[in-house]
Amino acid sequence: MIQRTHSPLAVVGKTIQMLLLLAYALFALFPLLWMVIMSLKPDSQMLTTTFIFTPTLENYATVLRSDYTRFFFNNLIVSVSAVLVSLVVGVPAAYALARFQFKLKEDIAFTILSFRFAPEILVILPLYLIYQRLGLYDTYLGLIWVYQLITLPLLIWILRGFFEDISPDIEAAAQLDGYSWWRVFLQVLLPLVKPGLVAAGLLCFIFAWNAFTFPLLLSNNVQTSTVIALRYLASDTVHYGQVAAAAAISALPEVVLALLIQKHLVRGLSFGAVKG
């Protein structure tokens, strides 16, 4: 049996590593923690206290007593639908970009990716006019469609890498075994890219859920929970506690999802990155 000895230098190095990671975790999580703290503070103690205060659930009660849940479910409907549409359209597109050779393939792939380069505010004016003309303004379909600008490029690029990592011999073997192309795709390839599907699906959901500009300007009644938090910025005062409570409730599904499938997320995001 090999016995590993830890030198003092290695222990110090490991400790420094852990401390740095802890510091970064605190830095990254602090806004979330601050939001939760704010949501539990009464308005009277909002600006006069930091970490010591009398916690209250009144902010949550106020938010939930209002019609906030309607907008929460709007967000859920639009985000989930957008991800599902992206999966149906994006998975075959990713496969085609990974496997087939055709003219302008890399140009098309880059064009799809370029949709993520431009900030939403750049395209919102023409989109607003187009949506008004087409009757898509303030509709679920309109939001689901425009969310494809957010979700589809991300999903295609993640899954393309996963499909490229699968040896074409596996498909050829399945075809020699007597399976049609569709059955090979469904029974062999999709199970193999499952980690990528989960990771890409979750990331797309997070981006779609957090969308702000599109629902703000392309809808009115079909509003989402990210936008509706703004209404707590009243004309007389800012109800920081209610804004924070609305934001905390809005963040809950993403946090829960990420915690539940974090193993798939880590595996999915790293699997396609290791070559050889």
Binding site: S167, A174, L176, V188
Partner: protein, 168 residues
């Protein structure tokens, strides 16, 4: 087994030449090994015979039957790939059963079970059937055994790292 004749096979991948005007006559029962440097066209030739890729020109006959318009599954060829082409999401049993479950064979569950266990015993890997991660040697035996055992394959093709073999 069966004879294989390829006549004037040509395959271009875009502007890159895979093979050009390859003709070969392999009699029945002959064991042929093809050597060549990387990029010579060995794998392309095997893929053309198996029907995995379509030639730009030329023809393939297996047992005096022209198979140019036939799908890979209909050519009755068993092929072992250089990368083994195992299904990593399946257990050893499921890997061996997978081709037998295809629409081509339409075998009953009991017959599939019988054949898989028969060949697993023959290859001495029956203790691995439930394993999802066997060693590469057992996997290779699994695929080799399948290639020669499931039905009367007209041709058996093995694509190795240093040589390709056509077993007829």
């Amino acid at each position: 087994m069966a004879s294989i004749q390829i006549t004037g096979l040509t395959k271009f991948y875009g502007k890159r030449r895979g093979v050009e005007n390859v003709s070969l006559d392999i009699p029945d029962q002959e064991f042929l090994t093809v050597f060549g440097p990387a990029g010579a066209g060995k794998t392309t030739t095997l893929n053309l015979i198996a029907g995995i890729v379509t030639p730009n020109q030329g023809s393939v006959r297996i047992g005096n039957r022209v198979v140019d318009s036939l799908e890979p599954a209909d050519r009755n060829v068993a092929m072992v790939f250089e990368s083994y082409a195992l299904y990593p999401q399946l257990t050893v049993y499921q890997n061996m059963a997978f081709p037998l479950k295809s629409p081509k064979h339409r075998l009953r569950t009991e017959e599939i079970e019988r054949r898989v266990r028969h060949f697993a015993r023959m290859l001495k890997i029956d203790h691995l059937l439930k394993s999802a991660d066997p060693s590469i040697e057992q996997w290779a035996k699994t695929k080799d055994g399948l290639g020669s055992g499931t039905g009367a394959a007209a041709g058996r093709i093995s694509d190795g790292r240093t040589a390709q073999s056509l077993g007829c």
